[in-house]
Each structure stands twice: as C-alpha cells, then as structure tokens.
C-alpha cells in the first residue's frame, strides 16, 4: 500500500504540471490511434492501414479538401490515411528499438557495474567505441550492410543505441552499489545474484525509465530521418512518416501540405514525449517528492 501511495504521488506531481499532463494525454492519443490502426482502421476512416493506396489516375498532389482532409501526395495517396496509418508503423518500431536497446543496456551496464574491474573496463572501451561514431552516419552504415528494409534499419538503430543505455545504467548502478544497504545485504548473506535482482535493478529501473521516455521522441525522429534519406525503399508502399516526407519532397514548394502534415505529426509526438519525460523526471526526483 505504501508503494501504491508512491505511484499516486508520482501521478499527482505529474498532473500538477499542466504541460506534462498534456504530454501524457497526447502520447496516449497516439498509442490509441496505433492500436486502432492495428485492429480496426476503418473506425478512423483508414481503408488500409498496412499499405498506401496509390491512385495513378491523378498522381499530382491535391490540396486539402473534404474528401482528402490532408490533401493527397504523390502518387495520389490520401495523406490523412497515410499519416494515420504511418503512426502505427513509426510508434511500433520506435518502441521496439528503445525497449530492446534499454534491455541490453541495463543488462550489460548493471552487470559491469556490479562486477567492476576487468569486465567493466572492457565494456567501457566497447561503448566508447560505439559512442565514438555519431549515431546517424553509423546507423546508415550498419543499416546499409544489413539491408535497407525497416527491420534491418531498426536492428541497426538498436546496435547504435544500446551503448547509451549501458553507460547510463552503469552509472546509476555504480552509485546505488555505494549505498550501505547493498553492503548490509552482503553482510546478511544475500548472494550476488540476489543483490543485483533485489536491490540494484529495481533502483536502476526508475531513472532508466525516465531516460527511455526522454529518448522516445528522438528515436522517432531518427527513424523517420533515416527513412527520409532513402531507407525503407525495400517496400515503396509502406506508410511511414519519413518516407512520406521524402516522397513529398519534390512537390514541397508547389504543394507544401505534402511535407507539412507528416512533419507536424512527428513534431507533435516528439514534443509530447519530451514534455512527458520531463514531467516524469521531476515527479521521480526525490527533491520534489517531499
């Protein structure tokens, strides 16, 4: 029950701050859309949530109208449907990327921190190396080698992303390791595994969770950015925000909406995610909990 009070307090602090509350709501909205896309897209007027429906009879982008809320983009794709459908794709991949990265990162980071010494050194050097290449070019290279589909792309992003979490988790774990309660547990005969699972990981999770929420926005951006510069050419009709923008690129000047709507969709999500992340960070910061 004490724990329950804790969650309640967290939420209360979160909602005391209007912006973070708004962030939360928007993010929930996006997730909602993604789910509906997956199960019953017709509800929100999407004919096919898994593939764009081109209309080659008039491929030239049409301005927004009643029958095309966001107008159309080349080749005659209804932008509204495409964008709504794309939300599912982008959200799904971003979540997978972040969670996979975080999982690997936490595992490696915590273990390294606990059994410090040689293993730790090695890990630090490896992450150093991974972090020594800016993620975008690196992702390009890896993705290129793996192939230019979205799955390969997200795998590439995981490979690029996990060191960040490893670093972060390690830092957290090291500071937690210093706490007397870890030593007390050792003194009362709790084994290493017990200490890691019972004491370190639970205490690491919270800050990493905050980090995740702060990263999601960035990941969505990066993902879209890579598709924008020509990944995802494997499946030309897959609805994806970055790809939509790059498809619209040639028409940007004559038909601005083709780039504006997909972009705004990304922007709103990223902003909401960051607001939420900030709110969470404040809410979980012990200084604000008293």
């Amino acid at each position: 029950m004490a724990r329950f009070d804790q969650t309640k307090l967290t939420l209360r602090i979160l909602f005391e701050n209007v912006t973070s509350a708004a962030g939360l709501l928007i993010v929930l909205g996006y997730i909602m859309i993604a789910i509906i896309d997956a199960v019953h897209p017709q509800l929100i007027g999407v004919v096919n949530a898994f593939e764009e429906v081109p209309d080659y009879t008039n491929p030239v982008p049409q301005p927004p109208s009643l029958q095309h809320l966001f107008g159309t983009t080349y080749p005659g794709i209804d932008l509204y449907q495409a964008v709504i459908a794309a939300i599912r794709v982008d959200l799904w991949y971003s979540f997978v990327i972040v969670l996979a990265g975080a999982l690997v990162g936490i595992l490696v980071g915590v273990v390294a921190a606990y059994y410090s010494g040689f293993f730790d050194e090695i890990l630090m050097r490896i992450t150093d190396i991974f972090l020594s290449i800016p993620y975008l070019p690196f992702a390009i290279a890896v993705g290129f080698v793996l192939g230019r589909g979205l799955d390969e792309l997200s795998l590439a992003l995981v490979i690029v992303w996990w060191p960040l979490y490893a670093r972060y988790a390690r830092g957290q774990a090291l500071s937690i390791k210093e706490n007397a309660y870890v030593e007390a547990a050792r003194a009362s005969g709790v084994g290493s595994w017990g200490i890691i699972t019972k004491h370190i990981v639970p205490n690491v999770l919270t800050p990493v969770f905050v980090q995740i929420s702060l990263d999601l926005g960035t990941v969505v951006q990066t993902f879209a950015a890579l598709t924008f510069i020509g990944f995802a050419s494997a499946n030309p009709l897959l609805p994806e925000l970055g790809k939509l923008i790059s498809d619209g690129f040639p028409y940007a000047i004559s038909a601005p909406w083709v780039v504006i709507f997909p972009g705004v969709t990304i922007l709103i999500f990223a902003v909401a995610m960051n607001l939420l992340g900030d709110g969470l960070r404040d809410a979980l910061d012990p200084r604000n909990r008293t």
Partner: protein, 473 residues
C-alpha cells in the same frame, strides 16, 4: 601442552585478527602506472570475546571503518588474517609457528574467515551482522520495513517459512517499533526509527557478533540515548558481542568493556575501558580525551591542542605515525631528515645564521641515509660557528614546533677551499611496540619502551607483552 585439551570443550576466541592490514590503491599522478597505496589499516590485532563490547575510537580516516568491514569480510585484507571462533590452543599454536608454514596454513584453512568455503561462509554470515552510521542509505528505499527485516532470514532459508512474519513483527517490537511500521517505506521513518529497523535486521538471525559502525553519529542526542540504551539491553539479554566503532569517546565509554584507540591506520593504545579513560598513556589518546567538549561551563580544564592534521596515509610518517603532531615526541620517534632539515633551516634563519639555513634549503643539501644529511655552506664554518649552531639546536629543541631537532645526534663541520660542509647525524628511530602498563592496558609509544616499568611503578607487569603476535620477538 594445551593441545591435549579437547578443542570442542575448551573456550574459544570469538574473533581474533592477526596483523590485519589493508592497502587501497589510488591512481598515481604519473601518466601510466605509478599506482600508490593508502595504508588504511596497518597490522591491527583485535580480540573480541563472547558477550564483550569492544570499542574502536579514532578520528575520520583513521581506518576504523575499514577494520570493521574487514572483520566481516566485506572486503579482503592485503595482509594478515582474522580467526572466527578459534580455540585458544590453536591460536597459540598459530602464533608460535612461522607465518606461511604448513601448520599455520592448516589452522588458517580451518578458522580464518578469509579461507572459509561456501558453507562455512554462510555460517559466518549468520553469526555476524553490521549496523551502519547513515540510517538513510542503509535501508533500500524500494523495500517495505517488513521485507527489509525479513531479508536475512530469506537469505538463510529460515525455517519454518510461515513464522518469518511473526518473527519480523516480534523483532520490531523488541526494537520499539509497532505493527503500523511493517508496511511503511524507509523514507516515511525518522532517523531514529530507521536505525531501530537496521538493528532489528541485524538481530534477525540472532548473530553472535554485530559490528556497529558509528550507529548513533547521525542521530540527535535524545535519540542517541534511546538507541544506546536499547543496544545495552540487547547485549545483556542476548549475550551479544559488539564491535562498537565511533569517533565519540563519551559514547564509547558508556558502551564498551574494552577499547582500542586508532590513529592513522594503527592501533596506538588498547585496554580495559575504565583503565584507558582514567589513565590514558599514549599522547594521542590524552589529546583526544582532552579535546572532548564537556557540557559544563564551570570546569575550564586546559586542552592539549594538537598542531597539524591527520597525515596523508599514502605517505604515512615513519616511525610513530603520530610524531609530527605529538606534544611529547622524542628524538627516536621517527623524524625523517627532511623534517629535521626543514625546522633546522628555519631556526637558523631567525638566529643569525642565514647562510647555513639557505644552504640547508638549497638543492645541494643531500640526504646520505635515513640518519645523516650534509649541506655545503658558502662561507667557512669555524668550530665556534658550529658550536653556536649546536647551541641553537639545544635551545630550540624544546619548542614544540621544532621537536624535530630532538632527533639531532651530532653536528660536525669541515671547512674546505670553497667553504665548509656541515654534516648532521640523527638518532636511530624506533618503531613503537606494544608495552603492558598493567594486565589489561597496553600502549605503543616510545615513552613506554618495552621492558620499562609499568606506570604505576609496580614492576610486576613491567613490560608485559600483550598476548598477540606482532609484538613477540
């Protein structure tokens, strides 16, 4: 021969450390390597018997906390060992045989906590516990009080399982915390309450030895009183032994039967609490006691103010580590040539011999060995000049800031074409060994050389060696 006694029956020492030492590596200031070592604990011999409270006092960084960690094997020692529940006979045997000999190793294998195998280690963990100073970092913020207290029992597969909960609430009850605390999280408790929880956790597996690492330093006076009384009660009721670590002498006096005074990683005085408090022998102990602020404005007893600060344990002072601050240091307390040069050049500067002092400061003042150094002076030094130097040394040596001069044995000088060379030789320095002042009071200080008469004059205990290794031979 004790060895005939059946070890099962004969009385055992609960915990005995032998030359226990710990060095911490610190990154040197070279580009590669150059690792230096902090001499945190140096050759500590501590004896803890059943149902005894041993106090360990000293200032921060004196190594008392490290020692506390070592005896629970929360860290591995760099040297020496510690025995748990070792029979007297084996202990004496161990001391009589050379280190590393086959027999010594067999004894270590049997009783040394650092050689324990998995099973023995688990047993040891059951029998020992620790309570930390900081009541805020010593409880996992994510666990309820119930879980925290139950943790040791779970770790040791306490049977029967279903009794764990009742045991937990009983323990908390014992420590003066009611049912309503069971489901609380640590941050909802006050410092005193947290410390009570920590104690309850320590008692969970009814251990024999609890290390109390500054258990009340973070608490207010009134709360401290409550905790101390609680601990006293447990000691008498449960027959526990405590290793009570604290910088607060008054508290230690209240709690412990025997105390060890540590300075800069070494134990300088040990003995029965009352004996040590009533007649402290080591200059450091005396200073430490005089420094305690007394809550009574009427008694204005003069204090012994120590100059300087606790030395850097990366390069601890030679001889007696306390000598640079000691208000009654002797010539043989381990003054290094550098120390002597420094204060010699200073006194000479202010007493009309600046040239010599400059020469001492200058680079061509070379230390020949630990006991001699010589410097080349620009002008010639006739015997009278040398004599005057000797006079200066003689009169300044009793000024506390120039005790280093006490180490000066003789000063010679020989003139040559370019000037003269002054040569100073120092008295042989002596590492203090433990000396018995009476049956239960030992001090390691050159004021009490081994074999000297006990302070009370009675030769009966004169120079009694304490029953521990390091000081034999």
């Amino acid at each position: 021969m004790k060895s005939e006694v059946d070890p099962a029956k004969e009385q055992r020492v609960l915990l005995q450390t032998e030359n226990l030492s710990k060095l911490f590596p610190v990154k040197g200031d070279k580009v590669i390597g150059g690792t230096k070592y902090v001499h945190a604990v140096d050759e500590a011999d501590v004896t803890i018997s059943e149902n005894e409270v041993v106090g360990l006092v000293g200032e921060s960084g004196c190594g008392k906390t490290t020692l506390g960690r070592l005896v629970l094997r929360l860290m591995e020692p760099s040297k020496g060992t510690a025995f748990f529940l070792i029979p007297r006979s084996s202990l004496d045997r161990y001391r009589s045989v050379p280190v590393g000999s086959k027999e010594a190793r067999t004894i270590e294998k049997e009783y040394s906590i650092y050689r324990f195998d998995r099973r023995k280690m688990k047993e040891f963990r059951k029998n020992t516990q620790i309570v930390f100073q900081d009541p805020f970092s010593s409880l996992d913020p994510h666990m309820t009080i119930r879980a925290i207290v139950a943790e040791p029992m779970k770790a040791h597969h306490y049977r029967p399982k279903n009794e764990i909960d009742t045991k937990v609430s009983k323990l908390l009850e014992e420590c003066g915390l009611g049912e309503q605390f069971l489901e609380k999280l640590p941050h909802e408790l006050s410092g005193g309450q947290r410390q009570r929880v920590a104690i309850a956790r320590a008692l969970a597996m009814s251990p024999r030895l609890i290390v109390l690492d500054e258990p009340t330093s973070a608490l207010d006076v009134s709360v401290q009183a409550q905790i101390l009384n609680l601990l006293k009660r447990f000691k008498s009721e449960l027959g526990l032994s405590f290793l009570f670590i604290s910088h607060h002498l008054a508290v230690v006096r209240q709690m412990s039967d025997e105390i060890y005074v540590m300075y800069a990683g070494q134990i300088v005085e040990r003995g029965e609490t009352e004996a040590v408090f009533n007649s402290p022998a080591h200059p450091y102990t005396i200073a430490l006691m005089s420094a305690i602020p007394v809550p009574d404005p009427t008694t204005k007893r003069e204090k012994i103010l120590l100059k300087g600060e606790i030395p850097d344990l990366v390069r601890p002072p030679g001889g007696c580590r306390f000598h640079p601050r000691c208000p009654s240091a002797l010539g043989n307390c381990g003054w290094s040539p550098e120390e002597v040069i420094a204060s010699l050049s200073e006194v000479l500067a202010s007493s009309g011999l600046p040239s010599v002092s400059e020469a001492l400061k200058s680079r061509d003042c070379r230390v020949i060995d630990g006991q001699t150094f010589e410097a080349h002076v620009g002008e010639s030094l006739d015997e009278s000049k040398t004599e005057s130097i000797r006079r200066v040394v003689a009169e300044k040596r009793d000024n506390q800031s120039h005790f280093a001069l006490r180490a000066v044995k003789e000063i010679t000088s020989q003139s040559d074409t370019t000037g003269a060379t002054i040569r100073v030789s120092l008295t042989m320095s002596l590492v203090p060994k433990f000396t018995g002042l009476d049956k239960r009071h030992f001090v390691a200080c050159n004021l009490f050389p081994p074999g000297s008469a006990g302070r009370d004059g009675s030769h009966e205990f004169g120079g009694v060696e304490p029953p521990v290794r390091g000081e034999q031979h």
